[in-house]
Structure formats: structure tokens, C-alpha cells
């Protein structure tokens, strides 16, 4: 009850500050209303960040968690200020629209959650995961699994894989990893937001997959880390390229991005070769147009969009990530993104100096 009251009060205060222009630390422009849409994966993080940002900066932000695909579609139709996406735009998608830039906002991972009676620790390798999800490893006491888990009493029971029935960035990251690990997976199933898994059962959304796993013995499935961390579901440690078995955590997820990152930050960091890296990690991005003058947007709106992105990239905001079960961006990604923001223009003139 107290919590509800508190959040109502914060809302009231937030609206009040917006209404009166409030304590905007940006004296030379009016508070703006920004709208974005897209990925649901970073939604809990964005909710916290947007609320904080509105309090300090006066701008109001509306974000619709309609899925990465929908967000990008809205940006293509030029009806939002920014799109949230778990997958970076492909070259083909980029060619279909005006130039855009990708700004990573935080990091997350996909964890392998399982439900085996009496088993508290499970070690998996990429090849084994690929073979479980393609139905080649059928039993929990398969010798390849027992070899990875000496001393663990794996039952003689069929493995039931659980996957996402809806299109999802989580599925994309997971299958992107399997595609890198296994040529058989890549040629038969490939990577995508929806993939035809040959066996097991499917459920809608992270909550759906997680509750099927929690309710069904001998299941294994992939769940977004932000959800798995918050729910305390048992999940497996996974062997990375260096041979280390790594549990997903803020630290091991950030470590996955400590390698080389291209200048436009469009890269997949699954199967990272960095030390201590959790191999199924990912960035999540906000995508904005390089030229901000579209659909009658004002220069103030454009400036507000950049203010928001700079705010997200700031050290203070990045420090929040692990509190809400995400991982902070590595320094390199932040520097590249701040540089990319400086190339954003309004009517051909750069906005940030």
C-alpha cells in the first residue's frame, strides 16, 4: 500500500514538474513531449530512467513496449522520436529508410533456465544447448551432459525444451548464439525472432516460458536475464569461448562487450571471446534518425531527444542498470555512442557542439 502511494506521489510530482516547466536544468528550451516505441526487453529499465529524467529535465517521455519490430516500423513511418530495438537494423533495413544511428542503452543476456528435481547447478556448453534444442540430445542423463556435470545426479528423463511462441528479441539473441556455435543449427534453423524449433513446447513472453519451466519437471528454456534475475529461477552456467563456465551476472554480461566494437555499435556480442564473458549477452539499442527534421518536429524536440540519450549514456544512469537486473555499457560503447550523437543534425546543422 505504501509503495503504491509512493509511486502515485512520484507520478503527481513528475506531472507537476512537467506542467510548470519546473526545475529544467536546460534553461534555453521548453519541456518537450517525446514518444518512442519498441522492445519490451529494456522496458523496466526505461521506465525507471524516463521517470528520473522527467524529474530532472522536465521533458515527458512516452514509451510503448510493442516489440522491436513494431518500434522500427513506427520509426520508418516517422511517427515516433526514437525506436527501441533488441536487434540492430540489418543493412537491408537500413537501405530502406533515411540514415539512422544506433545508440546502445544497456546490456542484457539470455539465460538457460531449467527445472530438474534436486539439481541446483547445471553446466552447459553451446554445442550441447544446440543439440538439446534440435532434439539430438533427448535425455537428461545423456553422456554429454553427465560429462559436463560430474557429480550431479541427472535423472533418466526426457528433456522438454521450452521456447517462445511470439516473435522476440530474446529468441533472436539465443538463436544468433547457436548459429555462431553450431553449423548444423545455422544451416537447419538459423537465427531470427521466430524460429521453428523442432521439439518441445512454446509459451508467450518471458513470464509464459518461465512459468511453464517452473511448473513442469525436466524442462529447459531460454528466458531474458532481466526477468530471470528478478524471479530467482535456477539457470545454467555456460561455457564461453575461453572454456570458462560463466553464470550470467551484471559483470559477466558487461564483460562480453569488452572486445572490439564497430563505430556504429551495430554488432552481435554473443559468443564473445573476452575473459569472464557470459556468451549469450546482447546490447539493446535506441534508434533515431540522423537528420532530426522530419514529420514537423521542432528543433527543441530534436534537442530533447539527444538530451535523453546523453542522459541514458551518463555514468549515473548506467549505474542504475544492475539495480534493475540489467548490465551497464562498457566505456568503449559509451564513447562511441557519444561521438555518434554529435553527428546528428537538424536541417543539416549538427545539434551538439
Amino acid at each position: 500500500m505504501k509503495k503504491i502511494f509512493q509511486s502515485i506521489m512520484t507520478l503527481v510530482i513528475a506531472f507537476a514538474t512537467v506542467a510548470c516547466g519546473g526545475n529544467s536544468n536546460n534553461e534555453n528550451r521548453k519541456p518537450q513531449e517525446l514518444s518512442g516505441a519498441g522492445a519490451t526487453f529494456p522496458l523496466p529499465f526505461y521506465n525507471v530512467v524516463f521517470e528520473e529524467y522527467s524529474k530532472t529535465n522536465g521533458d515527458a517521455i512516452a514509451y510503448g513496449g510493442i516489440g522491436s519490430g513494431g518500434g522500427v516500423r513506427n520509426l520508418r513511418d516517422k511517427i515516433v522520436d526514437f525506436a527501441g530495438s533488441d536487434a540492430f537494423l540489418s543493412d537491408k533495413e537500413m537501405a530502406e529508410m533515411a540514415p539512422v544511428i544506433h545508440i546502445p542503452t544497456c546490456m542484457g543476456a539470455v539465460v538457460l533456465a531449467y527445472n530438474i528435481d534436486g539439481v541446483k547447478e547445471l553446466k552447459l556448453s553451446g554445442e550441447v544447448i544446440a543439440d538439446i534444442f534440435s532434439g539430438k540430445i533427448k535425455m537428461w542423463n545423456d553422456e554429454r551432459l553427465t560429462a559436463l556435470n560430474p557429480g550431479v545426479n541427472l535423472p533418466e528423463a526426457s528433456i522438454i525444451p521450452v521456447y517462445r511462441s511470439d516473435g522476440s528479441g530474446t529468441t533472436f539473441v539465443f538463436t544468433d548464439y547457436l548459429t555462431k556455435i553450431s553449423t548444423a543449427w545455422s544451416s537447419t534453423y538459423g537465427a531470427g525472432k521466430s524460429v521453428n524449433f523442432p521439439i518441445g513446447q512454446a509459451a508467450k513472453g518471458n513470464p509464459g516460458v518461465a512459468s511453464v519451466i517452473q511448473q513442469t519437471p525436466n524442462t529447459i528454456g531460454y528466458v531474458g536475464s532481466e526477468y530471470a534475475f528478478a524471479q530467482n529461477i535456477p539457470y545454467a552456467s555456460i561455457q564461453n569461448q575461453r572454456g570458462e563456465f560463466v553464470l550470467p551476472s551484471s559483470k559477466s554480461i558487461s564483460a562480453a562487450a569488452s572486445g572490439e566494437i564497430p563505430a556504429d555499435t551495430r554488432c552481435s556480442i554473443t559468443n564473445s571471446d573476452a575473459i569472464g564473458a557470459y556468451p549469450i549477452s546482447t546490447f539493446t539499442w535506441m534508434v533515431i534518425y540522423k537528420e532530426q527534421n522530419y514529420s514537423d518536429r521542432t528543433k527543441e524536440q530534436a534537442t530533447a531527444t539527444l538530451d535523453l540519450l546523453q542522459y541514458i549514456l551518463s555514468d549515473e544512469t548506467q549505474a542504475i542498470t544492475s539495480e534493475v537486473h540489467y548490465a551497464p555499457l562498457p566505456k568503449k560503447a559509451k564513447e562511441l555512442s557519444l561521438k555518434n550523437l554529435k553527428t546528428v543534425t537538424y536541417d543539416g546543422i549538427t545539434i551538439l557542439q
Binding site: G69, S165, G167, A203
Partner: protein
Amino acid sequence: MNDKLYKILLFVATLTMPIVCGGVMYALVTDAYDAFEHFGFFKFLTSSDWNYTDGSEQYGALPFITGTLMTTLLALIFCIPFSLPVALFVGEYFNGTKIAAILSTVTDLLAGIPSIIYGLWGFYTLRPLIMAFDISPQGSGILTASLVLAIMIVPYAASLSAEFIKMVPNDLKEGAYSLGATHAEVIRKIVFPVAGSGIFSSYILAIGRALGETMTVTMLIGNTNNIPDSITSTGNSMASIIANQFGEADDLRLSSLIAIGLALFLITAIINMIGKIMIKRARIA
């Protein structure tokens, strides 16, 4: 003047419904057109491929049509042994008594429970039971979905059937009794033949309800895009595939999902129409 205004208001209100229905129909057809054009109308309905791979996208509705028909048919079969006794109890044996009124109210209450509640009950109570009895290892599947659907459609079948059973003329029944018929014989030889098409139509309407049920089925059917090979295996119904994949679908996949929606719309409309015609006939007879 007042009368005229009243007439206009009534006319506008009545006209709205056909316009809405026509609009829905129009939107479905135009949006589904791409899929039918790309795959061909009959090929779309009879293909069992549901392949997302970029470039070789292939969408066919057969697994979902099969899933819908299987769950609906099974639900109907499971529902008969529960709904028919209730209908006889309320409409014949205890017609007009207090206990019948209580029973029919309770049955009708079942219709008012939101489908998410049925879904949760199925997920947390029935599914573990299915697993405990070793009927299927994963619990979810056609059978689980059908069992819950059956309970959901019992009130629709039972209360309408009871109405038709009550409508059987008393002189017919009394005639049979005076010839020495037992109660069971009266039901078999008089009540069923007279109320038969009415009872049949009430089950048709119940089917209409089962066909389109989305939430419960999505939670229990297992959501796999294959033609179910047995009643315990997982599958997807027409409504559940739309609920599952609408969010992230675009282009051809979106159009295919809308095409499935159109097919479901048509199937439901036809079945309801059959039900209505049967009811009309039952009332005339």
C-alpha cells in the same frame, strides 16, 4: 415529433451493427489479400508449412485449422456428458423446483468466469494432474485445452438445451405416461425426438464459442506450429496462433495471420448460421 426522433435514433443504432460487421469483414479481406495472392487461396488453407526464414517465407493454415477443429470437437465430446444431464435435470426431472433454479444459476455462473481464470486453473491445476497421471510428459496439449474448453461451453449447451426440453408439450408426455411408459422411456421416445433439433442447435452455438476461444487455449495448447499427431501432443489453434504472433508480425506473416482470422470468422459465422436455422426449425415444429 418525439416519435420521429425516436425512430431515427433507433434506425441509426440498428444500422451501426451491420456497418461495423461489414467494416470488420472489409478490413480482414483487404489485409488478408496479400497472403491469398502470394500463396493461393486453397494452397494457403491446405499447406502445413509455417516457415519464418527470410526469403523462403512459407505460411499455411492447415496446422491451425486442424488444431482448432480437434480442440473444438474434443471439447464438444467432453461437454456432452456434463451438459445433457444438467439440461435434463433442470428442464425435465426437477423442472420448476428450487434446486433446479439453483443448479441452473450455478451453471450459468460458469459462463461469466473470464477465460483467463479458466486458463490459470488449467495451467496450475489440470496440467500438473495430466503430468501426474503420465498422460503426457509436458502437460500442455490438445487434450488439456479441450478439457478446459469443455467446461467453458457447458453453460451454453446446458441452459439452451434445458429451455428446449421445457418446451416439450405436456400432453405428449402425459399421453406416453398413460400408456405405461417409464420416465426414461418418455425422455428417450418423446423428449429427445421433439426437442432434438433444439438441443442440437444449442450444441452448435456452444461450438461457436469453443472455436474462437483464445486466452485459455493459448495458455494450455503448447503453441507449436505442427499438425498434432495425437490428442496428447501440442499444437496451435487458429485463435492462439494469432494471439501468439500478432505482436511482432509484419508484411507477409501479418497478412497470413489476418487470413487465418478471416477463415476463423467465416467458420464461426457458418456454424452460428446453422445453429440459428436449426433453432428456427425447432420453434416452428
